[in-house]
Symmetry: C2
Subunit: 348 residues, 2 copies
């Protein structure tokens, strides 16, 4: 119940060793139509043995993370004759690692899977931590399991296939990991400016997530530390999805959420004004499409936050930094305190 | 990772206590159209609190144990607003406990479920042991999880709703449990003749399954003891499903399988002639629609058995009794030995 993550050549080496020892008929590669074109050639070059493995490329897009798609893929695995000793290689962004992990957890009551995340968001967050997920209708991740990949291979070579907006969206989670648990990573990010993250950054970020997950694999408490920026972030995401120009990346919502929740941490005396300024400056570096709010939006956002099951009465539950590189879970704020903090996002 | 099973009044008492403490909005009853008419009134009389709980009755029949049905039910749970603290009550035969257990294991990454099996097959076998299952196309139970119910309530009152053929089918697994692990239960069954099993029989049978599962919850070895009668039984089931008059109950196939595998146990010197006679006589008591074979069928049956992944080379893997009330796993037989044992089933 923990992640086994290897970077670059180490990862490819271990994957090649596993593939060389395997019966190709027991392996299958799951990817999507976009990743197949951009990233599959890299995988087949790094691990030539996988050329003889069957594969399925589903349509890209979160809208295909459904039970129907899962059934389609599993029917292919049955047709191929994959047994309980099978291995599913998941090559793609969070959609593919969520879906493929789910399939691996239920096909014949569980087979091995290997994650090869190709987006920054997947490399630093979605593909780590053992959570698998499927959407039902509009309800994201309403179905899923806990199922850890046998191996996760992370290579920044794939990041060059991403549009700029995908990189900045993924950086929001990297910055979050730095704020909640790694002051050294935070300083490194401050120095690097807007350069594509190197392996040191990727691995430090992944280590934060893995450490927190290892302490709470089934999400019974401690894992809430990862929620920093997400109480407000999810409300903004939900709010924007209802509005006319509803396109907002998860990363942009989390970036905005971290601004508000850091202001809350300052108001509660948990961080200094200097900490807040450093946090806001670093978020600025990677800020692209963050939302701006008007006063009229605030009641809607508060209503969305009020729905959270972690709340007690009218007080809203947060995970807030108490310094750069440290976080406290189960902090509470009144709607009035949140309203003041939200002013950070107001249109000038 | 083990079963918590209560019988009759004890079961209803604990269920009522749980239901009384619960928010009815967090509970949901899953059943099928046939069971809803025959058994739901009993449940609502035993636990009146459940009258205010929402329910879904799916179409009865193994053909509905699909991901599509699971998605339909989960969409209803979402609509109702069931959280991760929810409870799914599964009232029905093996189809409902397989499907409902699967849903409970993946809805919001896992909620509680309670099994109330209403067929003899489910009470003595299918609803116990933590395996959940879904079919894909013609491939039975190709998808599933391990997920233990919080509580299983077994009441023989439901057995009176069953047609005779369902009772005799379920008795095959009861007899199997007696042969592999409970000589006392075997003697009890010999005394009772063809009377509807009483609670002593039901609970002894359930205890055999639970004891074996508890020693090997994730099916890594010991659980193979439960396979007695099933190596040949599955081959017969597969063979008959291909033939014109393909309707054969699972119990009848297992009964026929136990005849053949007991003959094999005699041939290998594991049981005495007297043991074999007692076994065959007890199976006779509950025998209804067991298949008779012709010489021409034998090669097809051997070919089906040859597919089993537990085999080594041409030798076929069995779990065979070594006396009444005891079993050995990983016994092997050559196709010629199996051919001779199959003569037990030949048309005169």
């Amino acid at each position: 119940m923990s992640d086994h993550v290897l970077f670059g050549v180490d990862g490819w080496g271990e994957l090649a060793t596993m593939a060389d020892a395997a019966d190709p008929k027991e392996w299958h590669i799951l990817t999507d139509s976009v990743v197949e074109a951009l990233c599959l050639p890299v995988l087949l070059e790094k691990v030539p043995r996988l050329r003889s493995v069957e594969r399925t490329a589903i349509q890209s897009g979160e809208g295909n993370k459904t039970l129907i798609t899962a059934e389609h893929v599993m029917a292919r695995l049955l047709q191929q004759g994959m047994s309980r000793q099978g291995t599913l290689v998941c090559l793609g962004g969070g959609m593919i690692t969520d879906l493929g992990g789910f399939i691996a957890s239920v096909y014949k009551r569980g087979v091995r899977h290997i994650n090869i995340p190709t987006t920054l968001m997947a490399q630093t967050d979605a593909a780590l931590g053992g959570k698998t997920a499927i959407n039902i209708g509009q309800v994201k991740n309403s179905v899923g399991t806990f199922h850890w990949p046998k191996l996760t291979v992370i290579d920044r070579i794939f990041l060059h296939t991403l549009p700029d907006s995908e990189v900045s969206s993924g950086m929001a989670e990297v910055i979050k990991h730095a704020i909640i648990a790694d002051a050294g990573l935070f300083s490194l990010l401050e120095k690097c400016g807007r350069a594509m993250p190197d392996e040191a950054i990727l691995s430090a970020s992944a280590r934060v997530k893995m450490r927190i997950v290892a302490a709470d694999p089934m999400e019974s408490g401690l894992r809430k530390a990862l929620n920093f920026g997400h109480t407000v972030g999810h409300a903004i995401e939900g709010f924007c999805s209802l509005s006319a120009d509803g396109r907002l990346s998860h990363g942009a919502a989390v970036a905005a959420g971290m601004r508000v929740e850091s202001a809350l941490a300052l108001a509660q005396g948990l961080i200094t004004r200097n900490d807040l300024n450093r946090i806001l400056s670093l978020i600025d570096v990677w800020s692209d499409d963050e939302p701006k709010l008007s006063v009229a939006d605030v009641p809607h956002l508060l209503a969305l936050m009020a729905n959270d099951k972690k709340n007690i009465g009218s007080r809203i539950n947060f995970s807030l930094p108490d310094g750069i590189g440290s976080v406290l879970t189960d902090r509470w704020a009144t709607p009035d305190e949140v309203r003041i903090a939200l002013s950070t996002l107001m249109k000038p």
